[in-house]
C-alpha cells in the first residue's frame, strides 16, 4: 500500500537535509512502527507523507497504492485516503469542531464521488465515534482543539481518523502527553481500525505505546534513514539496549 523509495527531503527554508534515503514498504493490513531517537527525522517523515509545504523532496518517491503522491497537495492526499494524526494538533479559533468535521467528511466523500452526508446521519456517526472514545459531545461544540487538554486533542485526532475512514493512518507520537488511561483509550481506538485493507504507521519514541498497539513490523529511523527493520521483538530489544547499541551497529 505504501512504498517509500530512497526518499530525500530537506527543510524548504534553509535547505537542511533531514531525510537521507528512506526506504520503507507497508502492506495493506499491516501495522508498522517507526521508532528512533529525537532528531532522527520521524516527524519530518510524517509531514512529508502528508504533503506539508515546509519540506522539499529532492530525491526518491512515495507510492501510495502504486501511484506517486509527490505532486498531490495535502487535501488531495487526504482524499486519496491518507491520514496524519498530528503530534501537536493545531488550535483553530472560530472554526467550530462540528462544522469542521462536517466540511472535512463531506469534502472527502465528494472527492471520492460519494454522496454528501446529511446532518442527522453525520451527527449519528460523530456521536457513535465520540462515545467509543469516551469523549463529551460538548467538546465538539467548541472551536477546533481550542482549550482542549493534550489528551483531549489526541482523542479528537483519533475521532477524526475514525470518521474519515482512511486507507493509510500515520500516527505521529500519538502517545506523547497521554496518561496510561488515555493511552489505553486511544490505543483501543486505533486497534478498532485495524483491518485487512488498511495500513497503520505508528511513529513513536518509546516502546510503551507498542504494548497496546502491537505492530507487525518495526523500523528504526536514524539520521534520516531506516537503519534496521524487524518484527515486534525489535522494539523490546531497543527498549532494553537503547538506541546507542543499535546506532553503533549502524555506523
Amino acid at each position: 500500500m505504501l512504498e517509500i523509495k530512497n526518499l530525500h527531503a530537506r527543510i524548504a527554508e534553509d535547505g537542511t537535509e533531514i531525510l537521507r534515503g528512506v526506504d520503507l514498504t507497508v502492506k495493506a493490513g499491516e501495522v508498522a512502527a517507526i521508532m528512533g531517537p529525537n532528531g532522527s527525522g520521524k516527524s519530518t517523515l510524517s509531514y512529508v507523507l502528508a504533503g506539508r509545504e515546509d519540506y522539499e523532496v529532492t530525491e526518491g518517491d512515495i507510492l501510495f497504492n502504486g501511484e506517486s503522491i509527490l505532486e498531490m497537495d495535502p487535501a488531495e492526499r487526504a482524499a486519496a485516503g491518507l491520514f496524519l494524526a498530528f503530534q501537536y494538533p493545531m488550535e483553530i479559533p472560530g472554526v467550530a469542531t462540528m462544522e469542521f468535521l462536517k466540511v472535512a467528511m463531506n469534502a472527502q466523500r465528494k472527492a471520492r464521488g460519494q454522496e454528501e452526508l446529511k446532518i442527522p446521519e453525520l451527527m449519528k456517526r460523530v456521536r457513535g465515534a465520540a462515545e467509543a472514545l469516551d469523549m463529551d459531545m460538548g467538546m465538539l461544540k467548541r472551536p477546533l482543539n481550542v482549550g482542549f487538554s493534550g489528551g483531549e486533542k489526541k482523542r479528537a485526532e483519533i475521532l477524526q481518523m475514525k470518521l474519515l475512514e482512511p486507507a493509510l493512518c500515520v500516527l505521529d507520537e500519538t502517545d506523547s502527553g497521554l496518561d496510561i488511561d488515555a493511552l489505553k483509550i486511544v490505543a483501543d481506538g486505533v486497534n478498532a481500525l485495524r483491518s485487512p485493507d488498511r495500513a497503520i504507521v505508528v511513529i513513536t519514541h518509546y516502546q510503551r505505546l507498542l504494548d497496546y498497539i502491537v505492530p507487525d513490523s518495526v523500523h528504526v529511523l536514524y539520521k534520516g534513514r531506516v537503519v534496521r527493520s524487524g518484527e515486534k521483538e525489535l522494539a523490546q530489544e531497543l527498549e532494553k539496549n537503547g538506541y546507542a547499541g543499535l546506532v553503533g551497529e549502524a555506523a
Binding site: 502528508a50 504533503g51 506539508r52 509545504e53 515546509d54 497537495d73 495535502p74 487535501a75 492526499r77 487526504a78 482524499a79 491520514f83 496524519l84 498530528f86 494538533p89 493545531m90 483553530i92 479559533p93 472560530g94 472554526v95 469542521f100 466540511v103 472535512a104 469534502a107 472527502q108 472527492a111 472551536p143 477524526q160 474519515l164
Partner: protein
C-alpha cells in the same frame, strides 16, 4: 500684507456647491433649518479636508472624492428584504421616505416633516470645522425617519431603517430615541445600486436603563461613495451594542461618535470590515467616557484583499469625573493581499486617575499551520482558506449572542466570501 491663500477648488468641491445652489430652494425646513444649511455650506466652501487634517489623515477626502454626481430625481429605488426576518421596514428610497411599517407602540415621523416644522433643526449642526460628513449632510438632508420608542417598551420585532440609493446624490437623516428601560434591535441598512454619493447621519439616544442592539450594515456597490455618521448618547445604566459591517463601496467613511454619559453604562462596539477591489474604507470612532463607572469594549476585525485600503481610528477620551472607567479596544486585520493595507490608530486621552484602558492592534496573514491542518483533512485549499477567514470575523459576530442576528450576519459573510473569497 494681504496674502491670498485661496486654493483652487476641486471638481468635486465645485459640484457640491453647485448642487446646493441648484437644490437649496427645494430642501425642506423652516428659517432655522435654512440658516443651519447655509452655515454648513460655509464650511464646505473652505474645501474638503485633506490628509493634513488630523481627523482625515487616513482618508484624504479632497483627493479621494474625485467627482460628485448631480442629483438624479428620476432614479427609482426599491426596498430590500430585511436582514432579520419579521422586521418592521422603514425605507428611504433614493432620498425620499417610502411606505413604512410602523411597529406597534412606536411613533414614526418623516424627517422632511420634522425639518419643515423646525422641530429637529438642532440636529443640523456639525461639531467642528472638520466635521465634513455632518456639514455635507446638514446642507442637503431632505428626508429620513424620526423614531420614538417610548419608555419601558420592549420591541419583539426588530426595526430596519433602509437607505437605498439608485444613483446621483442621497443625503439621509435618521433619529432614534429609546426611552427609559426600552429594549430594541435596530438595523440600519446602507445599500443601493448606483454610483452615488451618499451621506447618512444618524442620531441615537439610549435612555437610562435601555438596552439597544444597533447594527449598521453598509453594502454599497463598488462605484458608490458613502459618508456615514452616527451620534450616540448613552444614559445611566443603559447598554448599547453597536455592530458595524462594511462590505462594499468605493470610498467609505463611517464615523461613530459616542458619549457614555450616564453612570454605569455599558457600550460594546463590534466591527467587521470586508474590503476588496479598490475600496477605501475608514471607520473613525470618538468615544467620550463622561459618566463614572462606564464600561466599553471595542473589537474591530478586518479582512483585506486585492488593492483595498482600510483604516480604523479609535479615540477614547476619559473625562476627569469618569472614574472607574474600563475600556478595551482591539483592531485585528487579516491581510490577504500584498497590494492591500490597513492602518490602525488608537488614541487614549485620559483625564481621570482611576481607570483601566487598553488597546492593541495586529496585522496577520492566514497561518500556514492552520491551513495545512485543514487541508490534511481533505479540505481543498480554497475552502480551507475560506473557513479560516470566516472564522477570523465570525468570532466577533458570535459575541452578539442573538441567534437570529448571528445567523443573518453569517449568511452575509458567506455571500461576501462566495463573491470575493
Amino acid at each position: 500684507m494681504n496674502i491670498q491663500t485661496q486654493i483652487r477648488r476641486t471638481a468635486a468641491e465645485d459640484a457640491l456647491l453647485q448642487a446646493f445652489a441648484d437644490r437649496s430652494e427645494y430642501l425642506p425646513g423652516d428659517t432655522e433649518v435654512a440658516e443651519r444649511r447655509s452655515a454648513a455650506v460655509e464650511l464646505l466652501k473652505r474645501g474638503l479636508p485633506n490628509r493634513k487634517v488630523e481627523a482625515w489623515h487616513y482618508t484624504d477626502l479632497r483627493r479621494l472624492l474625485s467627482s460628485v454626481p448631480a442629483f438624479d430625481l428620476t432614479a427609482h429605488a426599491v426596498p430590500r428584504e430585511p436582514l432579520l426576518a419579521g422586521s418592521a421596514v422603514l425605507p428611504v428610497l433614493n432620498g425620499v421616505v417610502g411606505e413604512a411599517e410602523v411597529p406597534e407602540g412606536v411613533s414614526v415621523a418623516s424627517m422632511a416633516g420634522k425639518l419643515t416644522d423646525g422641530s429637529l433643526a438642532s440636529l443640523l449642526a456639525p461639531v467642528d470645522a472638520d466635521d465634513t460628513v455632518s456639514a455635507i449632510n446638514s446642507a442637503f438632508a431632505a428626508d429620513g425617519f424620526a423614531i420614538d420608542i417610548p419608555a419601558g417598551a420592549v420591541l419583539e420585532r426588530p426595526i430596519e431603517l433602509q437607505n437605498v440609493q439608485a444613483g446621483g446624490q442621497v443625503h439621509t437623516r435618521f433619529a432614534v430615541r429609546a426611552g427609559e428601560g426600552a429594549k430594541a434591535t435596530i438595523v440600519e441598512r446602507q445599500t443601493g445600486e448606483g454610483d452615488a454619493l451618499v451621506s447618512s447621519v444618524s442620531h441615537l439616544d439610549v435612555g437610562d436603563g435601555a438596552e439597544i442592539l444597533y447594527l449598521i450594515i453598509q453594502e454599497q456597490p463598488e462605484g458608490a461613495s458613502h459618508l456615514g455618521q452616527i451620534n450616540v448618547r448613552i444614559g445611566k445604566d443603559a447598554k448599547l451594542t453597536l455592530f458595524v459591517m462594511n462590505a462594499g463601496g468605493k470610498l467609505v467613511r463611517q464615523e461613530l461618535r459616542l458619549v457614555a454619559e450616564g453612570e454605569g453604562s455599558e457600550f460594546r462596539l463590534r466591527g467587521v470590515n470586508l474590503l476588496s477591489g479598490e475600496t477605501h474604507c475608514d471607520v473613525t470612532m470618538v468615544l467620550d467616557h463622561v459618566g463614572p463607572a462606564t464600561v466599553s469594549t471595542e473589537t474591530i476585525r478586518n479582512v483585506v484583499t486585492d488593492k483595498a485600503e482600510g483604516a480604523f481610528q479609535g479615540q477614547i477620551r476619559v473625562a476627569r469625573q469618569a472614574q472607574k472607567t474600563d475600556a478595551k479596544m482591539a483592531c485585528n486585520t487579516l491581510l490577504l493581499s500584498d497590494e492591500g493595507g490597513f492602518s490602525s490608530k488608537p488614541e487614549l486621552e485620559i483625564f481621570a486617575d482611576d481607570v483601566a484602558c487598553g488597546h492593541g492592534a495586529t496585522v496577520t496573514e492566514i497561518e500556514a499551520d492552520h491551513l495545512f491542518y485543514l487541508m490534511a483533512r481533505g479540505i481543498d485549499e480554497k475552502t480551507a482558506r475560506g473557513l479560516l477567514v470566516k472564522a477570523f470575523v465570525a468570532e466577533v459576530i458570535e459575541e452578539l449572542e442573538n441567534e437570529l442576528v448571528i445567523e443573518a450576519l453569517e449568511a452575509k459573510l458567506d455571500a461576501w466570501f462566495a463573491e470575493h473569497g
